[in-house]
Symmetry: D2
Subunit: 188 residues, 4 copies
């Protein structure tokens, strides 16, 4: 791996395991493009994790949507990270978001907006997945099935308990690959 | 019908017919509760329609979500209505919104947020449908299937061309009934 | 005071005291209209406070905007309140929001959107202040100085440490009075 | 100028001239960094302008905030540009936004959210100005005076008719320079 390999941090919170699975899928897609991913469970975040966040080229934020925004545990993480606002420590890093809810809409867009406004305050550059969506391109079964573009949306509406849709994981891998490519393009 | 019968105006724009069907369903539900509904196609809006809007107790705004917000034709309607902002002509009226897109999310929440901010500028009081959603209460087949609460969301993802889901129409009827009940409660 | 006196609960979080002052101003305006207000500091919330929230006719949510949304402590309060979602215990109550930040914009709208989506999920009816704004009506010095309509916005940009602008408190009193009037109108 | 000079398109709508002045300031800042800017008045857009949009490395969207979103004329422009969604013609371009209203908040964030969701649908990469804001760093008189980070916010509240604040123009120049630097970094 060259010096310019992109470092991607994925700080996430997962109440029922869905968001964790999406984080893993994104990391897999990124690593296949030569990136080095750090998946960080914010409930057990360590000083080393914070160091990885600070040196990352890209940070992808992930949390389930509870009651119209990120889960409260994640809001606490964002507020702590906000201590880096004044010095703009994270400025010019790539940022993105992923979220899961029961429903297709589930007000998940509100979570992604919340994350994108946070990222903008931190001076970060926001990238979403750019998959058109499976119903428009039927050949791409399950890709971006909910039709969300600001970030990745997963649903548990039609899955067994604890599982996400296979298409959501595929969408995650694509998103990870996209972020890795952008990151490499920016760090050449 | 008593003097206090609620007048509900439903100014809508419909590109492919879906939003028009939702408007009709909402009006049906409202009228069954004793309200008098005026469905208004904003592409053919007349002076009489504007008069009905001005004297309505409630205005429910409906437009498909195109490219992350209300269709442009509807944006033009809202801007024209904004001429009533300075005098707060529509203040204290009940307001609500409905929108349709291909996908479950489809960024429809952005349309409902756009409508709710507009309504707030006009001094209106915002009400959404309050159906929990069919996946949570499986007995209520198709009700609020996308999981949207700020307003009504319909999808065309799984329907024949030009059709909305039967559950979206049922959700519309419930929404209309809810608005009529609130309107009556406020005008006693 | 008649039996129909409106009960208004104001659960707030205040980091530096600004939001607490706005809460007090809103309560003052509401009580002058015959309402009974309960100001609740969510950092010290008790079982009795929760009972007051449950029996209130209106709930006005208040928190400073930190990093693009409600302060994290308030996000935790909202999530706990979300335990009442499934049974829609708060449905049909009046809801509104108030927030403070350093700046005129300060992304305070994001906080109000977050609160209004939460309220919609809870089945509540959203009302904002409907003051046009002081720059448009110069006679109303300091009223709605930031130009926010979805809810009340306060700023600390030009005030001594810990203080809010006098106009923000006046706007708060008007907002409280408006909510009390609406609440009375709905409970007759 | 090298082959890698960044091409920046600034399609804008301006009702009273404020937004046009911001567009000019951004272009000035970008060109000083070696970019080539095309300022496009969407009321008089030509086929050549569309070609410039299609070949641009970055597109900065600008419109005043009217009634809680972009001016309706601009909504029509966005919808027309949306014809490029299916083929993702604008994917991977840098995107950003600027808006002007009377007030400090003026619901300008809603306009920037609307633009960022549009850009995400188009597969674009969103960048905001990352100036902390003048009240926090008093030395930077007038820079980001409203405290907006998702995009550039200007106000006309305290200016002579038709004028924007000098600090808004300075903020614009900085934003243009930032976009040009990012664009160069991405095209090396």
């Amino acid at each position: 791996m060259s010096k310019s390999a992109c470092i991607i941090a994925l700080p996430y919170y997962s109440g029922a395991g869905h968001t964790a699975q999406i984080a893993t899928a994104i990391a897999k897609g990124a690593d296949r493009q030569g990136a080095t991913s750090h998946i960080i469970d914010i409930e057990q975040i360590t000083a080393r994790d914070w160091a990885n966040l600070d040196r990352a080229d890209a940070i992808l934020f992930g949390a389930p949507t509870y009651m119209g925004s990120v889960a409260a545990a994640y809001a606490a993480f964002l507020e702590e990270a906000g201590g880096r606002w004044m010095d703009q420590t994270w400025a010019d890093k790539v940022a993105g978001g992923f979220t899961v809810a029961t429903f297709g809409s589930g007000d998940k867009l509100a979570t992604l907006q919340r994350l994108s406004v946070f990222a903008a305050q931190m001076g970060m550059i926001w990238v979403g997945p750019n998959d058109i969506g499976a119903p428009v391109f039927p050949a791409e079964a399950g890709i971006n099935a909910d039709g969300g573009w600001l970030g990745l949306m997963g649903s548990s509406i039609s899955t067994p308990r604890g599982a996400v849709r296979p298409g959501d994981l595929d969408t995650g891998q694509r998103f990870g690959a996209r972020v890795a490519r952008l990151c490499t393009r920016m760090s050449r």
